[in-house]
């Protein structure tokens, strides 16, 4: 029952993503599609949250999207979980919308607690929020998601060093390890080398998972939760396929930030079952 629900939720989110990006002929479908299982698991299985949105988020789990360009998957998930009307997804990237190209608090969209888009800043913010929780004796958990290309930003490593040195152990971060960025393969642009060794060397507890296998994502996040409170921040290295779920978008960096045309949209929608009703 639950498995079926997650599968259907994910299918609908994928439809939302391609339809949102197509409607404005603008946005980032590739990374969004690759992270659908993560968002679906996080918001349906893992996090304890209140859709009656309050910026302080006391006594609830918090999520920060550091790679803000995958806003379509974030917005679809938030809407489908009750943060704001599903119909509002049709305003994505349009003028006077709360659904800006990159997520922001500026227009007051419920569910978003920080602006992101300029890369590398979300881990620091999450550390701050996690520290605030500790000061408030709030045992909730703070989650973050980062792109793999984003790890080329220096601030990430400042934050990585800090989180382990200061034992920020109510923090579960995840890297969307799809191996692609705008200019091509991450290995060609600026390789990350041995990614897991890097995080271990920086003092983090690392876990790996198959980011497009729902069961594995759910199990890994549960495992990560069980490891909090042990004096170490946790990093999930989550292997994904950019564009997952739409065959012609998979296996290439080319759909990082390009919208499908009418025909391509039709093709994509034929591959994705409408389960919860389109916006």
């Amino acid at each position: 029952m639950k498995e079926e629900y997650l599968k259907n939720f994910a299918s609908q989110v994928r439809r939302d993503i391609v339809r949102m990006v197509h409607a404005q002929n603008s946005g980032h479908p590739g990374g969004s599609l690759g992270c659908v299982e993560y968002f679906t698991a996080l918001y349906n299985e893992i996090m304890n949250y209140n859709t009656n949105f309050n910026m302080d988020g006391k006594n609830e789990d918090l999520f920060f999207l550091s790679n803000g360009h995958i806003s379509p998957v974030y917005y679809s998930t938030l809407a489908r979980c009750g943060y704001f009307p599903i119909s509002e997804l049709s305003t994505f990237r349009k003028i006077d919308s709360r659904l800006q190209g990159h997520p922001t608090t500026h227009e007051g969209l419920p569910g978003v607690r920080i602006a992101s888009g300029s890369l590398g800043q979300g881990l620091s913010v999450a550390i701050g929020a996690a520290t605030s929780k500790k000061l408030n004796n709030d045992n909730s958990i703070v989650y973050t998601l980062h792109g793999d290309g984003e790890l080329q930003e220096g601030q990430i490593w400042e934050a990585a060093m800090y989180a382990s040195a200061k034992k920020i152990d109510n923090l579960i971060s995840t890297i969307d390890y799809n191996g692609r960025q705008i200019d091509g393969d991450v290995d060609d642009v600026l390789t990350l080398g041995n990614l897991e060794s890097k995080w271990i060397a920086f003092g983090w507890k690392t876990l790996e998972c198959d980011g497009n296998n729902m069961k594995d994502v759910v199990n890994t996040l549960h495992q990560a939760k069980s490891l909090t409170g042990n004096g170490q921040p946790i990093m999930i290295i989550m292997k994904t396929e950019m564009g997952f779920g739409v065959d012609y978008m998979m296996g290439s960096h080319k759909w990082h930030g390009v919208a499908p045309n009418d025909e391509q949209l039709e093709n994509a929608l034929n591959q994705l079952e409408e389960t919860h009703g389109d916006f």
């Binding site: 006391k58 607690r113 800043q121 913010v125 701050g128 929020a129 800090y162």
Partner: protein, 316 residues
């Protein structure tokens, strides 16, 4: 306001004292520092409230992000590092994670301007007011002495929204009485007059006091107004004074581009075009040297204010 020298101290010590006071009265106040605890005079806060003091190391970008995140949950973070590392080094972090996200972070910046002295131009930021005032929603404050810096530090904790508080390293006269309340966005009239208005901020307020003395002896009636809050600017007080004096000199330890004088000239150009002269650094980097020598060399001495007043009076 009666002007007398009440003591001699650095404005950064006023910040340190204000921060410790806040630590006592407001449990939500937290402080972050990037390896400059002694320079920022944050030692007392660190020793008194260790659970609310966060040493982040030499990683200012991370510090700004952590501060932004700590506001989520109701904390009021005060970040402490040099002005250069509080602004130009972390401009994008301040812009996206703090200003655009409207986070209640107090960016507290010491060693602003030429008076940092011997370390030289790498550290002497003279563009920070400009950078920070350009950010929508950012409040920009540059107090002039120990008492005013302490009062400003305490006042900004009650202001909701991001604030840039700029102060400095050298010991300068204390002359703002302790009992003068600090009101964000309200200019402080130091001396009333009718011939010319001098608007001054930060360390240049004392230079302006000295200049006004000489000018009074020369027979001029000088109005001296302390613009401690550069944004939001006290438009009403500025326009009221200029309507009376009809000429203006601005004085600040900053580039002429982007500074307080630029904000005032914009206001006047729109509402009451008036002759104006600027005492500020003119599109130059600083250099190593004693603070007093640098202020003279770069034209920020009280004699430069006197010269500017003479020039502007001729243009009236």
């Amino acid at each position: 306001m009666k002007i007398e020298i009440l003591g001699n101290s650095d404005t950064r010590s006023g910040f340190g004292a204000g921060l410790s006071y806040l630590g006592e009265i407001n449990p939500n106040v937290v402080a972050l520092c990037a390896d400059l605890t002694g320079s920022l005079k944050m030692n007392d806060f660190r020793d008194l409230y260790p659970e609310r003091f966060f040493q982040v190391g030499i990683a200012e970008a991370n510090m700004m992000g952590i501060a932004a995140g700590m506001t989520i949950g109701g904390k009021i973070p005060f970040t402490g590092t040099f002005a250069n590392f509080s602004t130009s080094r972390v401009y994008d972090q301040v812009r996206q994670s703090i200003a655009y996200s409207n986070k209640n972070v107090k960016i507290c910046a010491s060693h602003a301007g030429l008076t940092l002295g011997e370390d030289g131009a790498t550290h002497q930021v003279l563009e920070d007011i400009g950078m920070m005032k350009m950010l929508p929603g950012m409040t920009v404050i540059n107090p002039c002495d120990y008492n005013q810096t302490k009062a400003a530090t305490i006042a900004i904790a009650d202001h909701k929204g991001p604030v840039y508080l700029r102060f400095g390293r050298p010991k300068v006269p204390i002359f703002i009485p302790e009992n003068i309340p600090f009101e964000i966005g309200k200019a402080l009239t130091i001396q009333e007059g009718t011939d010319v208005t001098i608007f001054a901020t930060g360390h240049l307020v004392w230079e302006a006091v000295e200049a006004a003395k000489v000018l009074s002896n020369e027979g001029y009636s000088v109005e001296l107004i302390n613009i401690h809050t550069i944004k939001p600017l006290d438009n009403e007080s500025i326009l009221r004074s200029v309507a009376k004096t009809k000429c203006v000199v601005t004085a600040e330890e900053h580039q002429v581009a982007g500074g307080m004088g630029e904000s005032i000239s914009q206001l006047l150009a729109k509402n009451n075009p008036t002759p104006i002269e600027f005492v500020a650094v003119n599109d130059q980097f600083g250099e190593s040297g004693k603070p007093a020598d640098l202020m003279k060399k770069y034209g920020l001495h009280f004699t430069n204010i006197i010269d500017a007043v003479h020039r502007v009076l001729k243009r009236k």
